[in-house]
């Protein structure tokens, strides 16, 4: 996996595969699936916390990737990020449906050690993001991670860290805007 994340030409390869998908090339989709699905599945399982639902979401995500491949604009560069966004949005839709279902995988072991996936240079711009994250307050970092990585709502995060919802909202929002300022500078 380290290879996938640190290999600079990979994003270009993903972009090329998406372009081939847009032309209806099924072999390109299969290769894209082989290369990108572990990152997407890792992200989905953290948010959805149930394997069966994460598997469903992964399938749905690749159906969308296939159908929307013509909409990906190569000049955006971040082909994996584009796919991550599709997968995450599907997961958040499914969260609504699954809200009352029992959770079978309450926490995954590596969830707590946040930086685990980030110790290599990454094509998603992980270095810059990590540097900028470190400038945020501990609360801001923690809330962002609960929200983005684990797909928790404002209310759930408030419950998890024992702070008022309004405070959580403001930590997240200020954290996001500080991140952008740092990344853009």
């Amino acid at each position: 996996m380290a290879t996938l994340l640190s290999n600079a030409p990979t994003q270009a390869e993903f972009a090329e595969l998406l372009a081939r998908c847009a032309r209806g090339d099924a072999a390109a989709l299969e290769r894209l699936y082989r290369r990108a699905s572990p990152v997407l599945f890792g992200c989905l399982i953290r948010i959805l916390r149930r394997r069966a639902v994460a598997e469903e979401a992964l399938q749905d995500a690749f159906v969308s990737i296939w159908q929307r491949s013509a909409q990906y604009q190569p000049e955006l560069g971040n082909a994996l990020g584009w796919m991550v966004a599709i997968a995450r949005n599907r997961a958040i839709d499914l969260l609504r449906r699954e809200r009352n279902a029992p959770i079978s995988v309450p926490e995954l072991p590596d969830e707590e050690s946040g930086a685990q996936g980030l110790d290599e240079p990454t094509m998603l711009g992980g270095d810059a993001l990590e540097r900028c994250l470190k400038r945020l307050s501990g609360e801001q970092q923690r809330c962002l991670e609960f929200a983005y990585v684990r797909g928790r709502s404002h209310e759930e995060i408030a419950g998890l860290i024992g702070s008022p919802v309004g405070t959580v909202k403001s930590w997240i929002r200020r954290g996001l805007f500080a991140l952008r300022e740092c990344l853009d500078s």
Binding site: A26, S37, A70, Q71, I92, E130, E145, A147, I172, R173
Partner: protein, 224 residues
């Protein structure tokens, strides 16, 4: 609902991308996203900016049985070409010849196949949706590119066997248009994996073949 203020869009897009915008508010922003390029751009900026946070979750290989399921769902499995289902529907229509008018108003919720023809900068696109059972084609312009007032954009089916393109009608300059396919058009679509749009004289090509430049080509993709 239109005059969206930039700061508001920016805040909503940030909440959306981080995942805390939920429920009706999330669905509303998604609708705006489809409708307004400025909203789409903001959302996409935030999504791509935050994507690296994904790496905080270690990658996990999905079970090996998932790809065959996915490939079957998309109709990509070798035994079942992905166009089979709607091609069968269209072939039947072609056999039946012209359609009776009772089908004219029938439009199921989901199309059987879609094509998205987008400009290279992504600022404008057309959606073409095929409803095979009713033999209808729905064409939707999203911020369609401007063209000289004495020209029209015409849609074509491109048969896989290299046969001549078959006209599927003129694209609306804005909004949505739908039309009933003739048996000839249905047969041509059933034999095509791609559609194209060319720039033609007002009212469409006089020769029934593309005469102007082909401005967009896109695959026709089955919807599962």
């Amino acid at each position: 609902m239109k005059p969206l203020n930039d700061n508001l869009i920016d805040r909503l897009a940030a909440d959306y991308a981080v995942g805390t915008l939920r429920g009706a508010a999330r669905r509303r922003l998604e609708a705006w996203r489809r409708e307004y390029p400025a909203v789409e751009q903001r959302c996409q900026e935030w999504e791509l900016r935050l994507a690296a946070l994904t790496l905080r979750a270690r990658p996990i290989a999905p079970p090996s049985g998932l790809w065959p399921k996915l490939s079957e769902r998309l109709g990509l499995a070798p035994q079942a070409p992905r166009v089979t289902r709607w091609v069968a529907g269209l072939a039947l229509l072609a056999l039946l010849g012209a359609l009776s008018s009772q089908f004219l108003s029938y439009r199921p919720l989901r199309p059987d196949a879609v094509a998205v023809l987008a400009s290279p900068n992504g600022n404008s696109n057309w959606h073409v949706e095929l409803y095979a059972r009713s033999g209808r084609l729905v064409m939707r312009s999203n911020n369609a590119p401007r063209h000289p007032s004495n020209r029209d954009f015409e849609l074509w089916a491109l048969p896989k066997n290299g046969a001549a393109p078959v006209s599927l009608g003129l694209m609306p300059s804005s909004g949505e248009a739908s039309e009933q396919l003739t048996s000839e058009q249905a047969a041509a679509l059933a034999a095509s994996a791609q559609v194209a749009i060319s720039l033609e004289p007002l009212g469409g090509s006089p020769t029934h073949q593309p005469t102007g430049p082909v401005v967009f080509v896109a695959p026709l993709q089955a919807v599962s």
